[in-house]
């Protein structure tokens, strides 16, 4: 127990130490910086709310990635789903003005889900039926999604009078309710948590979750056991896309209020890290998403109180990713063998 806790904290500690050296070399006091980071991410209700708000899209993209990984599909295309899903939800949100919130919100989110799922249909089918590598196809689809949404938002869907690539704001009825006004933390967080709980239940106690896990661990065994693995891969890619789409939808309706250039700063890619860091478990995904959310919020606001450049947050984020997946057991193991 103590060992596993140490195992979880050691990588964080190393990342923090490395970043501290960099900070010190650049003439900053690492302790002050870290104290500020902690205060800005967890010091008080408002800051916690900001952290959770920042974690919301990461929970969803992490979950979307994990779902595909479970079935053995290395989907790196969640970023693209966030873009198309976000645009779809925004489109519904500013087009069908006048519908009551109880209709408009589900409608808009459904649009993001459907578009997100469809976006992953092609790579899913190509992998399952023709054995085409999903890493390449989904990576390519990211670039396509980004360019395609940029085209739409600059042309057909551009808000009149906007100097920036942006759709009009969605109708007030399409906005997700805030949980703790004035914080931007909104009902999207609850949706994310609900999906996380569903994922936990699905993985733990449903036949389909079981089949998916087995297929991901050993496809030949799954096939021999009578599981239709190709179909399962297609389904899980669709589900992954759907969750990626709803990540975009929630971001559009909950936080940004529209689709705009710079809509996602790479939530899909951070989601890969979240899924892998969280070892694919529901709790792990939640914790990893909160960690990255905390770094994102505090990284921005510490600049109000310190001269430390925001880049230190990137360095920290990168180091955490690198060391959190490292295993240090071999150090101890080798010492034992040598003795």
């Amino acid at each position: 127990m103590a060992r596993s806790l140490a195992g979880a904290l050691l990588p964080l500690l190393i990342a923090v130490l490395v970043a501290a050296v960099i900070l010190a070399l650049a003439g900053h006091n690492p302790f002050d910086v870290y104290r500020l980071l902690a205060i800005e991410s967890f010091g008080g209700v408002k800051r916690v709310a900001a952290t959770l708000a920042a974690a919301t899209p990461l929970i969803l993209t992490g979950l979307a990635t994990a779902v595909a990984f479970r079935a053995g599909a290395f989907n790196v295309g969640v970023e693209g789903c966030v873009f198309v899903g976000g645009l779809a939800a925004a489109y519904v949100g500013f087009t069908f003005v006048g519908l009551p919130a109880a209709v408009l919100v589900p409608f808009a989110l459904a649009a993001s889900v459907v578009i997100g799922a469809l976006w992953m249909l092609l790579p899913g089918v190509l992998k399952a039926r023709l054995d085409v590598d999903e890493v390449v196809t989904t990576l390519m689809l990211n670039f396509i999604a980004i360019s395609l949404t940029a085209y739409l938002v600059n042309g057909p869907l551009l808000a009149p009078g906007s100097a920036n690539s942006a759709t009009p704001m969605v109708d007030a009825a399409a906005r997700l309710p805030k949980l703790m006004p004035p914080s931007t933390l909104n009902a999207g967080f609850l949706i994310a948590i609900a999906l996380l709980v569903l994922y936990w239940l699905w993985d733990r106690s449903t036949a389909s979750g079981f089949e998916t896990r087995i297929a991901g661990l050993n496809a030949r065994f799954a096939i021999a056991s009578g599981i239709d693995v190709p179909m399962l891969i297609i389904k899980m890619m669709l589900l992954s896309g759907a969750i990626g789409g709803i990540a975009g939808g929630i971001h559009a309706l909950g936080t940004v209020g529209r689709f705009v250039s710079g809509f996602s700063p790479g939530y899909g890619f951070t989601g890969i890290a979240v899924a892998l860091l969280g070892r694919g478990s529901a709790v792990g995904i939640l914790l990893a998403a909160i960690l990255f959310g905390a770094l994102a919020t505090s990284g921005a606001t510490i600049q109000l109180f310190s001269d430390v450049p925001i880049e230190i947050v990137n360095v920290l984020q990168g180091m955490v990713m690198i060391f959190a997946v490292a295993r240090f057991g071999w150090i101890f193991a080798r010492r034992r063998r040598a003795a």
């Binding site: 650049a26 085409v132 360019s147 395609l148 085209y151 450049p309 990137n314 060391f323």
Partner: protein, 299 residues
Amino acid sequence: MIDNIIHAAIVMTTPLLLAALGGLINRVGGIVNIGLDSMMLAGALVGLIVASESGNWMAALVGAAAIGALLGLLMSLAVTRLEANEIIVGLGFNIAVAGLVRFFLKSAYGTSGTLNLPDVARLPEIVIPGVADVPILGALLSGHDPLTWAAWIMVPATAWFLRRVRLGLRLRAAGAAPQAARALGLAPLNLRDASTVFAGAMSGLAGVYLSIGVVGIFNEGITAGRGFIALAAFYFGRNHPWPTALGALLFGFFDAFQIRMQGRGVPAELVQILPYAMVIVVLTVMGITMRRSRARGRS
């Protein structure tokens, strides 16, 4: 027009090809390197600084390859010795190195984003007399810099290395069956590290090609995700050097082509989709033909 497209396509291909060949060797050795982009970025920066300080482009290449190799080594150690997941480590390197580069520019040069140094030594052009003015052939062969030549010579060299050279054979063994390699007394982890160091050096060269080969300045966005395109190229080529080069050339060609397609009535964003869509189409066609040929073998 054709000549210009060919020339531009070759220019845009070079950095992709360099990084893709490095990534290919790395993958043959057993590591999928998502961090190529970070090594390119560092190579571009260090190469430019060396080119300015020393006034010697060869020194710049050495510096860029060295920093790329160093990053490759660090990344590899995290993967092979700390058993970290290579995908996350790669993503982590991309984020951390981008941060470090900005941090470094601010701390050392008091600038952010772009570094514009005086007296940067640029890569020379090799003009082949006689060929230079021949249409198409001239664009293909003349007026390119040494690094472009090196990149293309690396293609058959890589194929030869993997098939015919002792180290190449051992690298394939280390990637395909590390247990077996270990049982034979090879050191698969060391081989893997070597392949990542190589990938890092090649990516460093790809980066310095952008900074002193193409433009002569550094910008934090100078790689523009080309490390990922290189990744797509060697995936596309299924670890074979020639198909990988074809993939890189495809991207380079479309880059050159889309520039010229613009302003001819097609929206820029849609033209930019083309190369990515092409990769998917080509992979799909390859998948279908492979399935067909299997089916034909049956009947």
